[in-house]
């Protein structure tokens, strides 16, 4: 029987299925961070339960960590408590922790793939909605709440109702200056923030096949912003090449056996999906979000939309409110919008290729005097690699702040936050009201677009801008 990638992985992980009940799914890998785990460990303690599989559990600290300097003590008492709590919990329950003094610390969805923990065919969960990132490897990876974190710690299983399936086939070849980030913003713009609710999305097509692993991670990362349960891309030679030699990847003969198994995973010819959508990106322009939801997106060549251009009154109301919050007027070309801050980082775009792309734009240029710009590598390993390639020198010479790894300004739980009214070009994944700081105004863009905006002081169309510069 022809099966999709999702069906193959789901069916292989069902421990128990009663009629009329959610399936009990086995979890191959549980990733843990400091914000959504304290109450889960406390629950285990209260019920006198142990972690069933500490060998399948990996922890890191990312949301709360300061990126300014690791040598200074953490000023925020409550953040320090959470970090100390995770350290204590990992010690008590025997879970490996990539903590602040670990050379492999970083954003949880960056270090999993980096270390070869994330692999095709696995079920992977974490108390964080961007767990969808790992789907780039052909894994079934999704975010869970703290109660479910406790459930997985105690049983290594998860109760899940079987989702529907949705294939998004992206055809064409990406033009120069247009990135994976633009593709996923375009997808969310097209289907809306509830467009994939209840579905696991599989991304397919020529444009997806042509992406590197890091680019695939960017696309899968933002699946949650379209409401998807998970986002997946079938593994292929690009995937195997990325994984070979990584710390937790199988070695030698075991690696060959793993590859043979991974090759059985891609969707079979003739398998059907509950929904299908085809998109074309050969003429896609760089995208910029204008509003307070990841679906409120326009091209770099467009102007801020008029709320009355939508038929639905709820959508109009939301658009009006967004424009007021963002301090924007309909009809204003996005390239006329000045910015105050630039944030290059987050689990969406903080990997070495993202930093190289931004550095290419920044090289030999200067950050606009009115702009405060920073680059936050996704992990300590990426930071070291970037420094070995001299990218940090390029950024610093241009006037960017070069930081330690962490979630940083994506969500402002650490000292990196926007002040009310500050406008930021950000390579992160959410532009909700107050996301980066109360009253902060977030515009989601690619690393190239963020770097160019830092230099210009306003949004530009990076495609023609470099030549004109």
């Amino acid at each position: 029987m022809a099966k999709t990638l999702f069906e193959k992985i789901w069916d292989a992980h069902v421990v128990r299925q009663e009629p009329e009940q959610p399936a009990l799914l086995y979890i191959d890998c549980h990733l843990v961070h400091e914000v959504t785990s304290p109450q889960a460990f406390e629950g285990l303690r209260l019920a006198s339960r142990r972690v069933r599989r500490p060998d399948l559990t990996y922890a890191t600290m990312d949301h709360n960590v300061p990126t300014w300097s690791r040598k200074l003590p953490i000023i925020d008492e409550i953040a320090k408590t959470q970090i100390d709590t995770l350290e204590n919990n990992c010690r008590e329950f025997g879970i490996p922790l990539y903590g602040l003094d670990s050379p492999n610390q970083g954003i949880v969805h960056v270090i999993g793939p980096e270390l070869g923990i994330t692999r095709p065919g696995m079920t992977i969960v974490c108390g964080d909605s961007h767990t969808s990132t790992h789907g780039a490897f052909g894994a079934l990876a999704f975010g869970i709440g703290t109660s479910e974190v406790e459930h997985v710690l105690a049983t290594q299983c998860l109760l899940q109702s079987r989702p529907s399936t949705f294939r998004i086939t992206v055809g064409g070849r990406l033009p120069r200056g247009v990135t994976a980030k633009d593709v996923v913003l375009y997808i969310i713009r097209t289907i809306g923030t509830a467009g994939a609710t209840g579905h696991v999305v599989e991304y397919a097509g020529e444009a997806i096949r042509g992406l590197t692993m890091e680019e695939r991670m960017t696309v899968c990362n933002m699946s949650i912003e379209a409401g998807a349960r998970a986002g997946m891309i079938a593994p292929d030679e690009v995937t195997y090449a990325y994984l070979e030699g990584r710390e937790f990847a199988p070695k030698g003969e075991a690696f060959d056996e793993a590859v043979a198994y991974w090759k059985t995973l891609p969707t079979d010819e003739g398998a059907t999906f509950d929904r299908e959508l085809e998109l074309e990106v050969s003429n896609l322009a760089p995208q910029v979000s204008w509003g307070t939801s990841p679906g409120m997106v326009i091209s770099a060549t467009e102007a801020i939309p008029d709320p009355d251009s939508w038929a639905d009154e709820n959508v109009r109301k939301a658009a009006r409110r967004a424009l007021e919050y963002m301090g924007l007027e309909p009809g204003m070309p996005i390239q006329d919008v000045d910015i105050d801050r630039v944030f290059i980082g987050s689990c969406t775009n903080s990997r070495i290729e993202d930093l190289r792309a931004a550095a290419r734009i920044a090289r030999g240029r200067k950050v606009n005097p009115h702009v405060n710009a920073m680059v936050v590598p996704g992990s300590q390993a990426i930071k070291r690699q970037a420094e070995a390639e001299g990218l940090d020198e390029i950024f610093k010479a241009a006037g960017f702040d070069w930081r330690e790894s962490g979630c940083s300004m994506c969500l402002g739980m650490n000292p990196d936050i926007l002040q009310p009214g500050e406008r930021c070009a950000s390579t992160s994944n959410r532009n909700f009201e107050g996301r980066q700081g109360r009253g902060g105004r977030t515009h989601l863009v690619s690393p190239e677009m963020a770097a160019a905006a830092a230099i210009a002081g306003h949004f530009v169309d990076v495609r023609g801008w470099e030549a004109a510069e």
Binding site: R16, Q21, Y26, E148, A154, K317, A318
Partner: protein, 198 residues
Amino acid sequence: MEPFKRHTGLVAALDRVNVDTDQIIPKQFLKRIERSGFGQFLFYDWRFNLDGSINTEFELNAPRFAGASILLAGANFGCGSSREHAPWALADYGFRAIIAPSYADIFYNNCFKNGLLPVQLGDAEVARLFEAASAIPGYELTVDLERQWVVDDWGNKFGFAVDPFRRECLLKGLDDIGLTLQHEAAIAEYEAQRIAIN
């Protein structure tokens, strides 16, 4: 977990779509290590002005909604981050049920783990309830999980669908982990069979 069978209470109306979990519980409040005490931070950036004073423009601050235990909301409620702190804040604030045309998946799931019932009704039905909440001072609804309907004293009665397993667990206040551990043998069997190809 406190069981939910039937609840009658004052309705508070929040007529907005795509209310995300960053609004329900902003990130600066995720630093607590307990499950309790989040109610005071519910919708914090909307409830309070920058100087800490009450924002009288915010719908839920209207005096007539004080003490409400049923939240009436718009489509795609709870989108965005998976933070379970969102249902914790709603429940701690005093809400026992939410009524909306649609929810984001992770938030919907998280509600059931916390004795908070998310009811899904049709667009037209929710619109009628918004009208009623607006027109009738002290508007109350009864949410009945056993009979799977929502009913008021003004002739509105709407049935709702809910997953049978989740309904059962919520009616009885059952703990997921205890239930799963009843099948420990099946888990051990799966682990033994699992080929460590990965």
